[in-house]
């Protein structure tokens, strides 16, 4: 074996830099890896928020972070889903954590498709425990932490700055060495990064570089190769706004994602404020117009600072030579469906499983890039499904959003679901079939015809089972504490 990878330098900022450093330190520190962080100036404001799907809990466990401590430190709330409003169909909640339910050996979506076709007035979300609990402002997590037998796992709203402070502390405590700095110059040989010169002239060398600098991609953007692939033809929003509003009373157990003529605006409740995030198209409304419209759109006054930055969805090959881009440096997506931290998580778990064995040759790069590209395409398609199914007719932004030539995988998914209400799982999926079913039905893609197997179940049996399921869910929801009672005090 040739020389092993020992010196790992992570350059970047905010959650990506510290999650990366901590993950590599925890996984490979005992095997001899030395992790050093060059922390670039933060781009976060007091208004920023991280909304995360429940997989973040798994990452926290791997990183040795205590759930209650994370929620406590980061103004955090354990939430269960996202409520979509004004996308054209009736409002609905997408509950993050879903379990496949079968009745009489038939997937529940099939039964419900038939029942709704025959006039059952109960909305689909009522059959999803996470969505049903969210609707009633309940969440299984108490202030003291997660109960062991919780029936549904939770997503997170975290104050971004406070969360980053917590991660920084944990990384340093775990043995990561760190300094503040910024990149002046990158020296390369072929596809490899030889060294990075910082603005104060320190020259940083490493066996492996991790670029966690966000969309700036200070190392990865200069790498040879195909470069950044733009997804602008699918995602029309090019501006991302963050701001704050007063805290909601009582605290809801979900984020609300409301469409408006130029894009969407998300309300993410935190313990003592509400984070407001909007993605929109500057061709439809200017920054100033959106800022002015927000109080009307959200019903809340804005407080504190508000910033708007450029948004450009797309991705680049994450691993080139000896440099791996993680998070926003590799993939840029809208902060919809609470996937921001999940994209970092995907990069890190794939990196840990393919951590390079030697300095001179890293054939892992191709496999890593293929895995990430495949995962990310599925996440992207999930976001895209919201857009293409919108029914805001007569608004240029939304009319365009329905029009594009779809990626093949999404087209096939929509066709199969539209025909039969089925979602076939491919490789590298972040969202489960039930997540897809919730948003597709929520946005109004109703299957034409359920599985013929449903015909063979007597109507009385179907009604009884559907009611039984509703009763069970209602009982489980009642057993959960009200989110506001646990986290809203003070």
């Amino acid at each position: 074996m040739s020389r092993r990878v020992e010196q790992v330098v992570v350059i970047g900022r905010d959650a990506a830099v510290w999650l990366s450093a901590l993950a590599v330190q925890r996984a490979l520190g005992r095997a001899g890896a030395k992790v050093r962080v060059i922390e670039m100036p933060s781009l976060l404001t007091t208004a920023d928020v991280y909304a995360a799907v429940p997989s973040l809990g798994g990452l926290h466990r791997l990183l040795g972070l205590n759930e209650a401590a994370v929620l406590e430190a980061a103004e955090g709330l354990p939430v269960l889903g996202q409520r979509f409003v004004d996308w054209g169909a009736a409002p609905f909640i997408h509950g993050y954590d879903t379990h496949g339910v079968t009745l009489s050996d038939i997937e529940f979506t099939q039964i419900l498709t038939r029942a709704r076709g025959e006039g059952l007035p109960v909305p689909f979300e009522d059959f999803c425990l996470a969505a049903a609990a969210a609707k009633q402002g309940r969440s299984p997590v108490t202030r003291a932490g997660v109960s062991a037998d919780q029936p549904v796992s939770v997503g997170y709203h975290l104050d971004a700055r406070a969360y980053v402070d917590l991660l920084r502390g944990a990384a340093i405590q775990a043995g990561v060495e760190a300094r503040a700095g910024d990149v002046a110059e990158v020296e390369r040989s072929g596809d490899r990064v030889l060294s990075v010169t910082l603005t104060d002239a320190e020259v940083v060398q490493a066996d492996l570089f991790i670029d966690a600098s966000g969309p700036a991609a200070v190392l990865a953007s200069g790498a040879p190769g195909p470069g950044f692939e733009s997804w602008r033809s699918w995602f029309g929003a090019n501006r991302l706004l963050v701001a704050s509003a007063p805290r909601l009373k009582p605290l809801p157990a979900f984020s609300q994602i409301a469409a408006f003529p130029a894009g969407w605006v998300g309300l993410h409740p935190l313990k003592s404020r509400t984070a407001v995030v909007a993605a929109f198209d500057s061709r439809a409304m200017s920054d100033a117009q959106v800022l002015q419209a927000l109080p009307g759109l959200t019903g809340l006054p804005l407080t504190g600072e508000a910033t708007v930055e450029h948004l450009h969805p797309g991705m680049r090959p994450a691993w080139v030579g000896n440099c791996i881009a993680v998070g926003g440096a590799a993939v840029s997506l809208e902060p919809l469906d609470a996937v921001q931290l999940h994209l970092i998580h995907l990069g890190l778990s794939t990196l840990v499983s393919l951590f390079p064995t030697e300095v001179e040759a890293m054939p892992e790069a191709a496999a890593y890039n293929r895995a990430i590209a495949s995962h990310v395409a599925n996440v992207r398609d999930f976001q895209l499904a919201h857009y293409v199914l919108n029914r805001r007719d007569g608004e240029a932004f939304w009319d365009r959003a329905r029009a594009p030539e779809l990626p093949g995988g999404l087209r096939a998914r929509l066709q199969l679901f539209g025909a039969r209400g089925r979602v076939l799982q491919g490789e590298d999926e972040s969202f489960q079939p039930q997540n897809w079913a919730q948003i597709l039905i929520g946005h109004g893609l109703i299957p034409a015809d359920p599985d013929p197997a449903v015909d063979a179940v007597p109507a009385a049996e179907q009604i009884e089972k559907v009611q039984g399921l509703l009763r069970r869910i209602a009982g489980e929801v009642r057993a959960m504490p009200a989110l506001d009672a646990e986290f809203g005090a003070a």
Binding site: T357, A367, R422
Partner: protein
């Protein structure tokens, strides 16, 4: 409840594929959804090479409600723990691809990483010594795996060897007992609906016209409907899998009653050996570019471990698959949908996948093309995965005694396979996928068995001291060996569980 007319399904062709399709539709669906009719001719022989199965077959049996011991008795079946490959990587080599795992993760990394690390330090035994199914195979032992998942003898799985002709007959009886209509006859013509191009009916030589909503083409290699009437294209994989012929010959049951299939690489292909209760199935799969038919017969007949019970039966094939197994209202199942040589016993598995996927995506009388597209995605993926795994056996060899092996070593393999091999050699990495065969233990056994050993391993392996790792590995090796010694022999177990027909004797042979 809405009352719909049942789907009228016409299965064309008996054999394993036809009867598995029929049994799946009858046993795997709620009553009243389909009406199944099967057309076959006793004059048309079936191929019936697929006498060895994969553990997945148990899922199929459970889904449709077939009793294992009953089926095994009726088909003179035996148990299978894996496949032994002789002379594949190089002359004189032998390894087993087991239905089970090698060791268990140690220190947060897969077993193969620690094994490689210990091996590089000169402290590892053969990788097969850490796999329960392999050790049991080597000693001709069998019993069912323990249900206690912490027990060492829970770390394997089992499949069957059976007489495919008897299996088709068994399923026929099972289906007829459940109301299936079987029609004896040969198909003279396939009628298409002029406006849609769908299959409207088949016409038999008797003049009978049989219409239906959905036609399942189980007519074997020729693909009577899918390839004939619908003229569906076929993707040819001969450039990677050069074998195109086979000879099959049964022999008397051997004393060596193995709980595994044996595959022995020969100069122009490979020979199979499948132990059944009443006989042993044998055959030579070869490439006509590298050996003549006569030479192949001589080679096979001179390399048997029992007296032959019949003349060798020739079979011709072409490796590859239909571009669209489900086209219009016709689904090709079995050999009509594609062919991959039985090197990894995948024929019946691929049929099973097609049948279960059909149950899962059962159409209405007017077939929605979205269902066909989804079905084809599932089936294509399965074929492609198996293809890569088969190519690996041919490609990773260091035999220098025959042209076929030099050819295969030098051929360009699909990128998907090349990348897998590269990462395995570089660091023992094996990707796990959600859909399709094979799982990492299968890849591991074949990589290492064919002579590809990792030169590196996952760096996390070094987090655990080497002495602790080698001590754990040695403990595991002993535990497996001791527990296997307590198992009954395969012959005893079969006799007690599912005794079938008495062994056949060759004409003129002495009992």
């Amino acid at each position: 409840m809405r009352v719909n007319k049942p789907l009228e399904v016409v299965i064309v062709g008996g054999g394993t594929a036809g009867w598995m399709s029929a049994a799946g539709l009858l046993g795997g669906l709620k009553p009243g959804l389909v009406r199944v009719r099967l057309v076959e001719s006793d004059d048309i022989g079936t191929v019936g090479v697929g006498e060895a199965t994969l553990p997945h077959m148990r899922t199929f049996n459970e889904r449709i409600g077939i009793d294992e011991a009953d089926m095994m008795r009726a088909t003179n079946a035996t148990f299978k723990l894996g496949i032994e490959f002789r002379d594949w990587g190089f002359r004189g080599s032998s390894y087993v691809h087991p239905f089970g795992v090698h060791g268990h993760p140690i220190g947060g990394v897969g077993f193969q990483h620690q094994w490689t690390r210990a091996r590089l330090a000169g402290q590892a035994a053969d990788i097969g010594d850490y796999a329960y199914a392999i050790v049991a195979s080597r000693r001709n032992r069998f019993e069912f795996p323990s249900k206690d998942l912490s027990a060492i003898n829970s770390t394997y799985d089992h499949a069957y060897h059976f007489d495919a002709g008897l299996y088709a007959r068994y399923l026929r009886g099972w289906c007829e007992a459940r109301g299936l209509t079987r029609t004896e006859g040969k198909v003279r013509e396939v009628r298409l609906a002029p406006e849609t191009g769908d299959v409207a009916a088949i016409v038999l030589e008797s003049g009978d016209v049989i219409g239906g909503d959905l036609f399942i083409d189980c007519s074997g290699f020729r693909g009577l409907i899918i390839g004939g009437a619908l003229n569906g294209p076929f993707e040819d994989w001969t450039r990677w899998l050069p074998c195109d012929r086979a000879l099959a010959v049964p022999t008397e049951r051997s004393e060596d009653f193995t709980p595994f299939t044996r595959s022995t690489a020969l100069e122009a292909g490979w020979q199979w050996r499948i132990p059944l209760q009443h006989r042993t199935g044998n055959g030579y799969v070869y490439s006509s570019s590298f050996i003549s038919d006569d030479e192949a017969v001589t080679r096979l007949m001179g390399n048997l471990d029992g007296a032959p019970l019949a003349e060798p039966k020739p079979i011709r094939f072409r490796s590859g698959r239909r571009t669209a197994s489900w086209t219009k209202n016709c689904i090709a199942v079995g050999l009509a949908s594609g062919f991959l040589e039985p090197l990894e016993s995948t024929s019946i598995y691929l049929t099973q996948v097609a049948v279960l996927t059909l149950l899962d995506l059962l159409p209405r009388p007017k077939v929605d093309p979205a269902l066909a597209a989804a079905f084809n995605r599932v089936v294509d993926n399965e074929y492609d995965r198996v293809r890569d795994f088969l190519i690996l056996h041919y490609h990773a060899n260091s035999r220098d005694d025959a042209e076929l092996w030099r050819h295969c070593r030098e051929m360009t393999v699909p990128d998907s396979l090349r990348e897998k091999m590269e990462l395995f050699v570089h660091r023992g990495h094996i990707a796990q996928y959600r859909n399709g065969l094979f799982s990492p233990p299968s890849w591991l056994s074949v990589f290492v068995g064919q002579g590809m050993v990792p030169t590196g391993y996952h760096p996390m392996a070094d987090s655990t001291p080497l002495e602790a790792v080698t001590a754990e590995m040695e403990g595991l090796r002993r535990k497996i060996s001791d527990r296997v010694d307590a198992m009954p022999t395969h012959a005893d177990f079969v006799r007690g569980y599912c005794k079938g027909e008495a062994p056949l004797k060759a004409a003129g042979g002495q009992a």
